[in-house]
Amino acid sequence: MIPLDRILISSLLLCSAGAVHAADGQKIFSQGGQNPAAMACLGCHGADGKGMAAAGFPRLAGLPAAYLSKQLHDFRDGSRKNPIMEPLAKALSDEEIQAVTATLAAMPAEPVADTRRQQMATDATEKLALYGDWSRQLPGCVQCHGPGGAGVGDHFPPLAHQPAAYLVAQLNAWRDGSRHNDPNQLMAGVAKAMSDEEIKALANYFASPASQGGKP
């Protein structure tokens, strides 16, 4: 016969042990990690994780967990640069990264325009987005990032509903080499082939899918 108080004590112990070990992704998102330097995501990325367009803080909601996890690890080891995200990522444990990226991936995102490649693009921006420009070996954005820029698999993140300022900043960073954590340097070549005007126009195209002339 086991005394009741011993059962209670052991279950209390189990509970607190559980709290220490299983990181709570939702809590990290809204309140931050164990280390106070791991600030809550929602402060900059919005309560719904959809980013802050005016500041150019990216949407995280609905992005693939593996992609987000790679970015956090890259911030941590310095292979992706950002003065805010580097110390923040260093303050997150592996377990916390796993938990918070799973939470973010499961958060709902805006629906993406079902823009297909069927239409012949006459507008220069849409042409680049759908078909690219092969005279400079530039594939269309959607050929890797999926129809409407919805994202494909773990390596090709969504472009749709990302703040235009964020997309512009990333393309410029790839172009000048300050961002270089893209697998197989796929984005470096693409970004270098584009002009300032094209980068701005494409960023706007994907930031507000309503602007896409999607006629499926």
Binding site: R117, Q118, Q119, M120, A121, Q137, Q143, H155, L186
Partner: protein
Amino acid sequence: MNLMIFGALSLALGSAQAAPIAMDDQSQLQVPAVGSAPTFAPPAESELPDNAFGKMVREGHALFVDTRRLMPDKVGNGLNCSNCHLDQGRLGNSAPLWGAYPMYPAYRKKNDKVNTFAERIQGCFQFSMNGTPPAADSPQMTALSVYAYWLASKAPIGVEAPGRGYPEVPQPAQGYDFKRGEQVYQQQCAICHGAEGQGQKVAQDYVMPPLWGKDSYNWGAGMHRINTAASFIKYNMPLGKPGSLSDQQAWDVAAFINRHERPQDPRLVDGSVEKTRLKYHANDGVNLYGQKLDGVLIGQGTGK
């Protein structure tokens, strides 16, 4: 009652009978190694007239870039025309339509036959798309042919234009090596085509095409030849980085891809891989069909 039985019988017979092979000679037409750079410029979209012809071109274009979704009863795998003919059939050294269209009708010595352009496209559907070819007089075939014709506007007839086909990449002195090919594949190709060659989908549609398995080209497609795949890869892959692989790497990775199983050659003779090899594969470029690798017969197919 009798009528019903007759109907059921003819249905059964109909389904048992494979679609006739439109262009049974799929053997390679020699494309010379790259000599001069492609110079032909197909017309721009803005030049399309706003009439029935322009509308037909647009329809053909839509079928060409979104074949799988628009012709689900004709495409038997996960591919679109534009997977092998990059930039909507416009890109030189990527088997552009403007390079193909002026070369038909074409005489083929092997079967002593003249094949029309429609028959050539039917061959694509039967082999590269592992499907059922649209009839030569179908609206879909007309649209595809009109699109090709339009892209070839002002191209000389019967003249091999620089940039047509995939330029031949000579087999390296060392031949090819599956192990090296696998390394190239995992480093350069798997990010898009998947570690198992399965491609990548968004919802139910492929964005990046599968390279082997039941949703890829079948054993009768030109791309099953290692030399043809090496040429395509060298001049077109990785997407946006053509020419970045050496000839050796292109051959190695082509051999690795084309040693994997894919749908059976629809010309299968008497159910025998060996007979099919002798009839259609033995003298068709460099291919592995019907050979034994590590004790396993290649070319058994994946089933539909």
